[in-house]
């Protein structure tokens, strides 16, 4: 995987350069917005990928970091006039701290597999109810941010500004996962995914590794929250803690390929394209999500390594594809 990545490095840099200069050739606001959304979803998917794809801990409540980060920077802005360009770092910190709390509580009590997925769902729900009930989040009415373009507000007059904002986030996320693939820590996460008990027996501090992984995920989600609230200028509990975003994070990653550097980006690109095409033909609520659900089931059933995995398999057919250990079902 590593040498593969390095050999493609020049190719990748070219692709990155292409994405950087792309807005000079695309004048349609529509395409810029779709691409922005693809980068944003890929970024969130990448955060899920670190914990889900590399460490094998599936969360169903990944949105909680996004929502918490969004609230941190937005409340700092509306209450204290704290500029979001600094607020985003506190949002990142907030997400990481939430990751620490959730990770410590659930991993310490040995929750694995479906149980971990469900407890993250419950945490997200808990935070949604809390955000709905307390004063300082604006409750059910929500928070309105004022439109004041400028770098210190992380708001931009043209959609191209947000395009670059999302692109930078996505580049950073890819850099993080690239580092992960070459680091000892990344190898430890993969060991945990493949067989947690064996990893523990080898002397890996699995609890610490999993907590670090969820903290990275939380930090990344926090930044995404600031991006969202500065772009859309509105935040309420159902948006901040929506299960749909949690699902989208895991969906793009699984479709693209879990535990791969470019899986989330490929998945986000494919799903958003499918979504736009479906919307072009029949614009009724729900249809694109039906397609998403079908794609998820098909991928799980037939392409467990995602689209990237499917391409890889074609490339080297000789290599055995039964890499995924048939792990037995987890008991609590």
């Amino acid at each position: 995987m590593m040498s593969n990545f390095r050999s493609h490095l020049s190719f990748l840099l070219l692709g990155a350069l292409g994405l950087i200069i792309l807005p000079y050739f695309i004048t349609s606001r529509f395409y810029i917005d779709v691409l922005t959304l693809i980068f944003f979803t890929a970024y969130l998917g990448q955060s899920w990928n670190i914990l889900g794809g590399y460490a094998g801990q599936f969360s169903f409540g990944g949105v909680m970091f996004f929502g918490t980060g969004a609230y941190v920077s937005s409340i700092l802005l509306t209450t204290f006039g704290f500029p979001p360009i600094f607020g985003i770092f506190l949002a990142i910190l907030g997400g990481a701290i939430l990751g620490l709390i959730v990770g410590y509580m659930s991993f310490r009590s040995g929750l694995r597999g479906s149980y971990f997925a469900l407890i993250t769902l419950a945490f997200a729900e808990l935070l949604r109810v809390l955000a709905n009930s307390v004063e300082f989040t604006g409750g059910g009415v929500g928070l309105f941010l004022t439109y004041a373009p400028g770098l210190s507000n992380l708001q931009f007059e043209s959609p191209v500004g947000f395009y670059y904002f999302a692109l930078i986030l996505m580049f950073i996320s890819i850099a993080i996962v690239y580092w992960l693939e070459s680091s000892r820590f990344g190898a430890q996460l993969v060991a945990i995914r493949e067989n947690e008990d064996a990893a523990e027996a080898l002397g890996i501090d699995t609890l610490r590794c999993k907590i670090y992984a969820i903290m990275i995920m939380g930090a990344m989600g926090g930044a995404a929250g600031t991006f969202y609230s500065q772009k859309y200028l509105y935040l309420d509990p159902p948006i901040a803690y929506s299960i749909h975003l949690s699902v989208e994070m895991l969906l793009v990653t699984i479709v693209g390929g879990m535990g791969t550097i470019f899986g989330p980006l490929v998945g986000a690109f494919v799903l958003h394209t499918v979504n736009e095409i479906a919307r072009h033909f029949i614009d009724t609520p729900g249809l694109s999500l039906i397609v998403y659900g079908l794609i998820l089931i098909i991928i799980i059933g037939y392409l467990p390594n995602g689209l990237i995995g499917a391409f890889k398999k074609k490339e080297k057919k000789s290599e055995s594809s039964s890499l995924d250990k048939n792990q037995s079902r987890e008991e609590p």
Partner: protein
């Protein structure tokens, strides 16, 4: 304020019990599926929503009373569940826990959005002729539908328990739950039993949907409300425990209504997710952590 709340406490508890019995029936389906197949059906809420719609359309189009619809919807839901497991979930998941979780997640997305696509997002309710009549208990009024649903739900739980303990099929299901290889060796068709169990679990939802319709509403997102409720009950009672599902259902029903009374409509919902998290962290085997 507090004293006013306290004087309403008995009423809140009784209301909670009424809902609790129906929650128990929903959770019973989930816990049965878990106990035998060791899988978590994430589409449980979405399938409950389908049952509510089935009861709604039977009433709306053919004027069939929801309580009578139990006789129609329950077997249909059972067959639906059997087919969807035997020919969908089972073959696709290849026995991996997380695959099943994700496939049932995909299924819930499909069901929920198909409902949105076909039935629109409007909330639907039924108006029964006896819907507003109520028993006078002295300190509160208890509507007929709530009481009927309460006893119907308890009756269904009893039927299920009897079927599990007394019939051959029940015995086969329990055998598979305890020792699936052994069951296979004595000639039980394990795949068939899995699908039957899944079907029974979904049939519970069919019955529960009919009982809930007169006291609730249905829209494509109704299922979401009950996903966490059902999981909480199952985890609280102990995965796979029938008694646990009943007790858990009552506890959650009461928690919800008392929480709503004391903490207000919005914050009152916190009780369920809080219980869920605490139970998972401190006692993941639940109160009655035994197998079926």
């Amino acid at each position: 304020m507090i004293s006013a709340s306290l004087s309403m406490l008995p009423a809140a508890i009784i209301n909670g019990l009424m809902y609790g019995a129906i929650y128990a029936l929903v959770a019973l389906g989930l816990t049965l599926i878990y106990g035998v197949l060791h899988i978590i059906n994430f589409a449980h809420g979405a399938m409950l929503m389908l049952a509510l719609y089935a009861a709604f359309f039977l009433f709306h189009l053919f004027s069939i009373d929801p309580y009578f619809s139990i006789l129609i919807v329950t077997p249909c839901a059972g067959i639906f569940g059997y087919i969807i497991y035997r020919y969908g979930i089972g073959p696709l998941a290849k026995g991996k826990d997380q695959n099943i979780l994700l496939i049932t997640l995909g299924l819930s997305i499909i069901i929920e959005n198909s409902a949105l696509f076909f039935f629109s997002g409007d909330q639907q309710t039924v108006n029964l002729s006896y819907g507003f009549e109520a028993f006078d208990l002295g300190f509160m009024y208890l509507s007929y539908p709530k009481v009927i649903s309460f006893f119907a739900a308890l009756f269904m739980c009893a039927v299920l328990w009897a079927a599990m303990s007394l019939t051959d099929m029940g015995r086969a299901i329990r055998a598979v739950a305890k020792e699936r290889q052994g069951a296979r060796l004595v000639g039980i068709n394990v795949e068939h039993i899995f699908a039957v169990t899944f079907g029974i679990g979904i049939a519970c939802l069919g019955a529960a949907g009919c009982m809930m319709l007169p006291i609730f509403y249905v829209d494509p997102y109704t299922g979401n409300i009950f996903v966490l409720v059902a999981f909480t009950i199952v985890v609280l009672g102990g995965m796979g425990s029938v008694v646990g599902a009943l007790v858990g259902g009552f506890i959650i029903g009461i928690t919800e209504s008392v929480g709503g009374l004391l903490l207000g409509e919005s914050l009152g919902q916190i009780g369920i997710s809080l219980i869920f998290i605490l139970i998972l962290i401190f006692r993941p085997t639940g109160l009655f952590g035994s197998k079926v």
